[in-house]
């Protein structure tokens, strides 16, 4: 089957997953102990306000009917209205999404730029000193709280040394690159351990493979050998690993955005939590779910593009 058929099949398999995502998001409101409306409104819970919410969310109706209402709105792009800002949730999300997307891509790019050379150094001489160093140091990154690293980086490089803006998204392409460097680096540090480990393992695998010996027997010079033969094969499993961990990557952006006050959906979510703005929290959770599903799809497509053997199976 060709590449497009592959994509369509994957898309079809996604539908139940996306449905499930909507169900869980919908269900969140019912996990709230007591009367959801009253709990959310807190001190603002006048009988009138509570009644309005009940009507808007259909809390008096049977469960299935509520879900139907929810899905009906969702399909029309209506995610409800923010209790705090008073505007539609979807408009809030749309305005905040670009910053998060920037952060995700920037962080992924940084992670790759850091990981590939390190994995190469480690794999070039297995079990030598440099291999052990490259394997152990990232373990520090695994246990590192993102917000803590964010605070430290911010204090040192932004406040003390004034190399980067302390907060914010910046304006213009270069402005984004500059302002988002520290946040993206913070997120990348959390991602690198996993990517390095997987790249190193797959490089070691590939370096020992027969076709690399064939290429060396052909007299292929080292740079070309590394890129077109070793790396090209080694990235395939690593792409899958990166894709699996994108979920963590995306989750990590939430807290990092808060520390650096980057106006993304994660920042929006945290603030809405403190403002007890349930519709926004629900909407953002849904968006995150969909983002992860989309990224997984992209990973599968990337994997199929990189590995010709996959498309012809089945």
């Amino acid at each position: 089957m060709g590449r497009m058929t592959f994509v369509y099949r994957r898309l079809l398999l996604l539908i139940p997953t996306v449905l499930g995502v909507t169900i869980i998001t919908f269900f969140m409101i019912h996990l709230i102990p007591g009367d959801p409306a009253r709990t959310i409104l807190g001190i603002h819970a006048t009988p009138r306000a509570v009644a309005i919410l009940h009507r808007e969310w259909g809390l008096n109706r049977p469960l299935a009917s509520q879900y139907w209402l929810f899905m009906d709105r969702l399909v029309h792009g209506n995610l409800g209205t923010s209790l705090y800002y008073g505007v539609s949730v979807s408009s809030l999300i749309t305005s905040h999404l670009p910053a998060t997307l920037w952060l995700i891509c920037y962080a992924a790019a940084l992670a790759i730029v850091i990981s590939v050379p390190l994995a190469m150094i480690a794999a070039s001489r297995k079990n030598a000193v440099r291999d052990h160093v490259v394997r152990v140091v990232p373990l520090l990154g695994l246990g590192m709280p993102a917000f803590w690293l964010a605070l430290i980086l911010q204090t040192e490089f932004a406040v003390r040394f004034r190399l980067f803006p302390v907060t914010g998204y910046g304006t213009g392409f270069v402005g984004h690159l500059h302002s988002m460097f520290l946040p993206a680096l913070t997120v990348a540090v959390a991602l690198c351990p996993v990517v390095i480990r997987s790249l190193r393992a797959s490089m070691l695998n590939v370096l020992g493979a027969d076709f690399v010996t064939t290429a060396r027997a052909k007299g292929v010079p080292a740079p070309r050998l590394f890129v077109r033969h070793v790396l090209r094969n080694a990235v395939i499993p690593a792409v899958t690993v990166l894709g699996i961990n994108i979920g963590f990557l995306i989750g990590g952006t939430v807290i990092v955005e808060s520390v650096f006050a980057v106006d993304g959906v994660g920042y929006l979510m945290i603030n809405s939590i403190f403002q007890r703005d349930f519709p926004v929290v629900q909407g953002v959770a849904l968006i995150f779910g969909i983002m992860v599903v989309v990224v997984n799809l992209l990973t599968d497509v990337a994997y199929a593009s990189l590995d010709p053997r996959v498309r012809f199976d089945r």
Binding site: P16, T17, V18, G20, V21, I23, I24, M28, I29, L31, I32, P33, N127, V136, L139, L140, L142, G143, M144, P145, A146, F147, W148, L149, L151, I152, T155, V159, R160, G247, F248, I250, G251, G252, V254, I255, S258, M269, I270, I273, V281, V284, A285, F288, G289, V292, V293, N296
Partner: protein
Amino acid sequence: MSAISLTPAAPAPAATAERAQPRRARWYRQPALMAGLVIIGIILFMVIAAPLITPYNPDTQNLNAILLSPSAHHWLGTDQEGRDTFSRLLYGGRTDLRIAFIAVLFPFALGTMLGSVAGYFGGWVDLLIMRLVDIVVAFPFFVLIIALVFVLGPGERSIYIAITLVGWVSYARIVRGEILVAKRQEYVLAAQSGGLSSVRIMARHLLPNVITQAIIYAMSDIVQDILAIVTLSYLGLGIQPPAPDWGTMISDGQNFLTTHWQLTTVPGLVVVVTGLGLSLIGDGLADLMRPGQS
């Protein structure tokens, strides 16, 4: 003319070009595992023996002695409310580590159970459980945790619930994968033809063999849980003050980063080192289980 081979000679002994298969390494000879155990051992000791090590109560405020620098009296100084930082560090460790170690058990149990059932029975049970896995996995771990804790209300109980609801999936996947492989082994066929019930086969024959991978994963899961707990507390959604906790310490200290950096830096470092120790243990165990591949 057909190409005919010679009768094969008897198998060559280990002196050929290939490496001989090394014996299973002794566990105490694994440097990663030992280093990890030492680190965690030290941390656990200090945390458990806290009352013996430090004379201060972590909650005692002393407004005459706020923001002191490290000294012989206060090894790490005091925070903005005059509480001894070192004590808070140790007692905070008690809280965080206790919760993390307990929190990992529920997803472990739930995930292993569901994973075994899915792997062993297959069919629509498998399909259903795996669909559920796909859906939960669709949310970023942390986003779901935060959202759940928000919804359930802050505090220790919500943390357990949230982590359980979100964390079981990885165990389910791992155990299911191992069981899919294991159930084709002959000892399982033997047990089945002996008429043993499915539950018995799963519990006594399959599980002991597949549990190792789950345990190795649990190490990294504890690290994830510690990070989640600490992050929630930093946001004010987790452990509530005045209970001491690393996340709250970092949050309290962040305004003083330029002047009293140890208030924020040290708790974070401790989290990093704990994560390092646990990861080393996990890696060491994994290396142990795959002989000759370190």
